[in-house]
């Protein structure tokens, strides 16, 4: 039977609701309202984990989100498992399982504990220094280092929970529902500000709610009694929304904050089902009030990390709030009055307090007197020089501190104990404040960084503003709230506040021991096992910047981000380097304040919602006919249509042959379509395309090439003149949005005088491309009335007509070199049109083909694909497309750049055709091209951009960019591959039907 350390009933613990849970496989009991930490402490379990580097036994240190040691794996081995969870934040529920991390085979007996005895060999920078030689061995070292690194285990199956995002807008956001936050929220809401109050814990009231210092009074009541009434009143206030279990993770510019709302983590498994687990609140607040409180600091002394050593505020909270005694022989170690509150709390419940060790010479405050009256032994001017107890603290050794605090003298006294409450003063939680971009200043007297210069409309109140006493808190809140909310009175103007006035403190960042520093272990960062001597070593080795020392020693780089020890690290650096802390500054506080789950970050954007995709109106047909799809931009495009188990190669060969021999059909709906209207539309096209547009007749189509201002090819497509002032431009599938953006940019910012309007109509039309020698016959069957003769409807022209009742636009244009038509109808008729074409083409063995066949067919013709054969460094001249660049036009986008010395170089990479000497070898796209084989290093001339086996030519063909390729026609080059060198010959990039005879076939 384990010891029960539950000492009194607490109103926050429901002792009628007994809960069983498992820790490291053993069943324990706690009550509704317990955290995993409080329940374990009630069962006298302190040892919960092992430290990261030395595998030292570690216990619960705190009662909140700053916990560095008690991080556990929740529900191990299930798909809901979560590593690195702070036991101090887990609310227990029936069936909860948790286990220790970073230990093997168990937390009680951990093989890695040997590191502790080897620690003299693991100084800061150990890995950097040791695993450098020989350099080639890194891969071998890495295997072992990776194996032993990391905390906890990530889940291996998919997360069954639902996560959510929500946008929230409010007038006033109050972060933290301690006494300050509650006062602020109440006043804001009562003054008609839409107010949101968020609190990371499940209860409102912060630490004041269990305040027991009889010398503090509000309105002649105890602060906790007074605050409970205030909290009760909040329920009836309109305009106020309260969110508990909600932790603000990030505070960005312009009062944009991210908060995680925890909805089901405290529920039993059966109650979690089909509920949202966590929700990310994206909050845009007009005004922000930070009431984030303060974190108690530990003291840095030799062996200050043993299970049983805790913050004094945590000892007090476990006693007052959870009704749990953390030990039966308690000692407090302090540099200020806070520990005396904890000592009295235990004393009043009949729990044994052995002594208080105070590094100050004395204190005259009322609470200290009260402790003296209670007969608790106080050792003034003493410091702890060592502790004993491997898995649980069992004694401390103390010695007298010298006047300057740098050494200890006199006899060593050993006091036996099982719990030590450490109080090193308070650090305002300014993490969110600095994340917002606001600046801190160092207060030399209080030894804290305080809010100084705000960047957005925000205030910091309460202890996060360095106000630790009730009268300071009240006075500053009243003043700041009135200013921010522009009000004259608050609810709290006439409230009388009393508190203990004395508040002395003696600050020593690193406490001395009777041993030399090198023989001690004063931990500064508990989770990462960084000690004061590591920090001093870093300084000796020449590190000066706090950011560098942090990274070298890993201080503050654990999952707790050094919430406890960072100030001490700064203090030790400042003392050692002889600089002021204000000049040293702090490391950057980065979001998130506490770790977020991946689920919270991605919200609903998982599975098919991970990335948006677009489908054409004919998509269902492609699916029904077993098409394989490829992603083009956001589009899902039919890639090829395998039949009877064909491979991709077989399907593409069949489709390509059919399209040239009889008829092929392609879904071209994804091509970008921009409707261009206005009296200056022709002039506009003249300026954005390289060729001339003014003389294009109505009803005619023209291919255009668009450059960037640097002269490089940006996009291409066919544009049709529908009317005097009306064009429709087609763009590449992937480039549509960018082209529209670029055109708008020029229109709005460079040529606002032009009367032109642009509208994206890509989604409004479905496009069917019919190609092949029988395409004309098929179209004739669908639209018998339309005169399809070359005279009436020649290549590169357009007709507006009807198919039945459906209006359609038909362009006779070709991307395959075959006689072909692009039929555009309203998107909703797309599938219908496709099926009509399939039916009409049945007798001609019409063959649907996908993007792969389209690419092959155009490569046979030497037509480029922007983005495949170009890469942002190709001019039209490089592409051997001089014919499309107007010499007459005065200006167009990119024209001037074509005459820069660099773009006019003869030895630029230029587009050429490549033929392999063995026509059966298909080159790999991306393969490098060289002219000499036995050269070291070999000069790379270029690379293959497109490569296929052409069924129509019965040989492999390729397009490539080759340095100076234009003048290399017929030259023999090599494509070196891993296992062989392929002989190739430079050729004309137009491989098929060079005279374009098939267009009119």
């Amino acid at each position: 039977m384990t010891k029960n350390l539950r000492v009194k009933s607490s109103e926050y613990i429901d002792e009628t609701n007994r809960i069983s849970f498992k820790f490291n496989g053993k069943i324990y009991h706690g009550f509704k309202g317990d955290t995993l930490a409080s329940a374990l402490l009630a069962n006298d379990v302190h040892l919960v984990g092992r430290s990261f580097k030395y595998h030292r036994p570690r216990g619960i240190m705190t009662s909140g989100s700053e916990e560095p040691n008690a991080i556990v794996q929740i529900n191990p081995g299930t798909n809901r498992t979560e590593p690195n969870v702070r036991a101090t934040e887990v609310e227990i529920y029936e069936g909860l399982e948790a286990s220790s991390q970073n230990c093997w085979p168990s937390v009680e007996f951990d093989i890695g504990g040997i590191n502790n005895f080897l620690s003299p060999f693991f100084p800061a920078g150990f890995y950097y220094k040791t695993f450098m030689w020989p350099a080639s061995f890194w891969e071998k070292y890495e295997f072992f280092i990776r194996h032993s690194a990391g905390l906890g285990k990530s889940p291996t199956s998919s997360d069954p929970d639902i996560y959510d995002h929500r946008n929230v807008h409010c007038d006033v956001l109050v972060v933290g529902a301690g006494i300050s936050g509650i006062m602020a929220a109440k006043n804001a809401a009562k003054n008609n500000f839409k107010t949101l109050l968020v609190e990371e814990k499940n209860e409102l009231g912060g630490s004041t709610i269990f305040e027991n210092n009889e010398f503090n009074k509000i309105d002649n009541k105890s602060p906790s009694e007074w605050l409970k009434k205030e909290i009760e009143e909040l329920k009836s206030i309109k305009n106020l929304e309260i969110k508990t279990r909600t932790s603000v993770a990030a505070y960005h510019q312009y009062n944009y904050l991210l908060a995680r709302e925890n909805l089901t983590d405290h529920l039993e498994a059966k109650d979690k089902i089909n509920k949202i687990r966590q929700r990310l609140l994206k909050i845009r607040a007009k005004k922000v009030i930070l009431a984030t409180g303060a974190l108690e600091r530990p003291l840095i002394f030799n062996n200050n990390d043993r299970p049983g050593i805790m913050l004094s505020s945590a000892v007090k909270k476990y006693s007052e709030f959870f009704g749990v005694a953390c030990g039966s022989k308690n000692i407090f170690f302090t540099n200020n009055d806070s520990a005396y509150e904890g000592a009295l709390s235990l004393f009043n419940k009949g729990i044994n307090v052995e002594a208080i060790i105070d590094i100050r010479e004395q204190s005259e405050s009322k609470i200290v007197k009260k402790v003296k009256e209670a007969g608790i032994k106080i050792y003034w001017s003493h410091s702890i020089v060592d502790t004993t107890g491997y898995k649980r603290l069992n004694s401390v050794s103390i010695m007298k501190l010298s006047n300057d605090g740098t050494s200890v003298t006199g006899n060593k006294i050993s006091i036996s104990c099982d719990c030590l409450g450490v109080a090193g003063g308070w650090t305002p939680a300014v993490h969110l404040y600095t994340q917002s971009g606001s600046k801190l200043k160092f207060d030399e007297e209080k030894k804290v960084f305080l809010p100084n210069k705000n960047t957005s409309e925000q205030i910091s109140i309460g202890s996060c503003n360095g106000d630790f006493k009730l009268d300071e808190i009240f006075n500053n809140i009243k003043k700041k709230i009135k200013e921010m909310l522009n009000i004259n009175i608050t609810d709290f103007d006439n409230i009388k506040v009393e508190n203990d006035q004395e508040n002395s403190k003696r600050n020593i960042w690193l406490l001395p021991s009777d041993k030399t520093l090198g023989k001690t272990k004063p931990f500064v960062d508990y989770q990462n096992d960084a000690t004061a001597k590591d920090i001093k070593l870093a300084l000796r080795e020449g590190f000066r910047s706090i950011e560098h020392v942090k990274r070298y020693t890993t201080t503050g780089m654990g999952t707790d981000q050094g919430k406890l020890g960072n100030m001490h690290a700064l203090g030790i650096i400042a003392d050692t380097a002889g600089v002021k802390m204000g000049e040293l500054g702090t490391t950057t506080f980065r979001p998130p304040y506490t770790p977020l789950t991946f689920g919270t970050i991605v919200g609903r954007n998982v599975g098919k919602f991970f990335d948006i995709f677009r489908r054409t109106p004919m998509n269902d047909w492609h699916v029904e006919n077993k098409a394989e799809f490829e992603n083009v931009g956001q589009w899902k495009r039919a890639w090829y249509y395998p039949i009877n188990g064909e491979t991709m190669h077989q399907a593409v060969q069949r489709e390509s042959k059919a399209a040239r021999e009889s008829a092929g059909i392609l879904d071209a709906s994804t091509l970008g379509k921009i409707d261009i209207q206005g009296s200056d539309a022709s002039e506009f096209l003249n300026r954005v395309y390289t060729n001339a547009w003014s003389k294009l007749a109505i009803g005619k189509c023209r291919y255009g090439l668009m450059l960037n201002e640097d002269g490089m090819v940006y996009d291409d497509g066919v544009t049709t003149r529908l009317g005097e002032n009306h064009y429709i431009m087609s763009t590449t599938t992937g480039g549509a949005a960018n082209v529209l953006g670029k055109l708008e940019d020029y229109l709005q910012t460079e040529w606002p005088e032009l009367d032109v309007y642009l509208t994206s109509v890509t989604d409004h039309y479905a496009t069917v491309s019919l190609c092949g020698p029988n395409s004309k016959k098929i179209l004739k069957k669908i639209i018998p009335d339309l005169d399809l003769s070359d005279e009436n409807f020649p290549h590169m022209s357009f007709k507006e007509t009807n198919i039945g009742n459906i209006q359609c636009r038909i362009m006779r244009i070709s991307f395959t070199g075959e006689h072909s038509y692009e039929i555009n109808v309203q998107a909703s008729y797309g599938k219908d049109l496709w099926e009509k074409c399939m039916q009409a083409g049945n007798e001609f063995n019409i063959t649907p083909y996908g993007t792969e066949t389209m690419h092959l067919l155009r490569a046979e013709k030497g037509f480029i694909i922007v983005g495949q054969d170009t890469d942002g460094t190709m001019t039209p001249i490089d592409l051997q497309m001089d014919w499309i660049v107007s010499k007459k036009k005065y200006d167009f986008i990119g024209k001037r750049s074509l005459y820069r010395s660099d773009t006019m170089r003869e030895d630029r990479k230029q587009l050429v055709g490549l033929l392999t000497d063995d026509p059966n070898i298909i080159l790999e796209e991306g393969a490098q091209i060289v002219s000499k084989l036995n050269q070291n290093p070999v000069e790379m001339l270029g690379h293959v951009t497109s490569s296929y086996f052409s069924p129509n030519l019965n040989k492999s063909i390729a397009l490539a960019v080759v340095r100076g390729g234009k003048d290399m026609m017929g030259k023999k080059l090599f494509v070196p591959m891993e296992d062989k060198n392929i002989n190739v010959t430079v050729a004309n990039p137009v491989f098929y039907d060079e005279k374009n005879e098939r267009l009119n076939a």
Partner: protein, 91 residues
């Protein structure tokens, strides 16, 4: 995440906008008359100021309008927003 006051739509979240680089660089009216150096100055040279900078922004996922912004790049404070073609505020 900035809160940007689009001159046409009002205050909107930054994710609706696209930054478009330095403002008030006019495209030369007669590019062919420029030397390579002069053209390169227009084409490539951009300031990257720590402090007050004049920028172009586009309400890409909104009204698609371009406008100008004066922003302090060290504090991200937006000092002014004005339409294309309008004169920048003097100070």
């Amino acid at each position: 995440m900035f809160l940007i006051n689009c001159p046409y739509c009002g205050e909107r979240d930054q994710q609706e906008f696209k930054a478009g680089g330095e403002a008030h660089i006019e495209r030369p009216k007669q590019p062919t008359e420029l030397s390579d150096d002069e053209w390169a100055e227009y084409l490539f040279m951009r300031k990257n100021i720590k402090g007050v900078q004049f920028e172009r922004w586009n309400h890409a996922h909104g009204c698609r309008k371009w406008f100008n912004m004066v922003r302090d790049t060290s504090s991200d404070e937006i000092k002014a927003i004005y339409k294309m073609g309008e004169k920048p505020p003097s100070q």
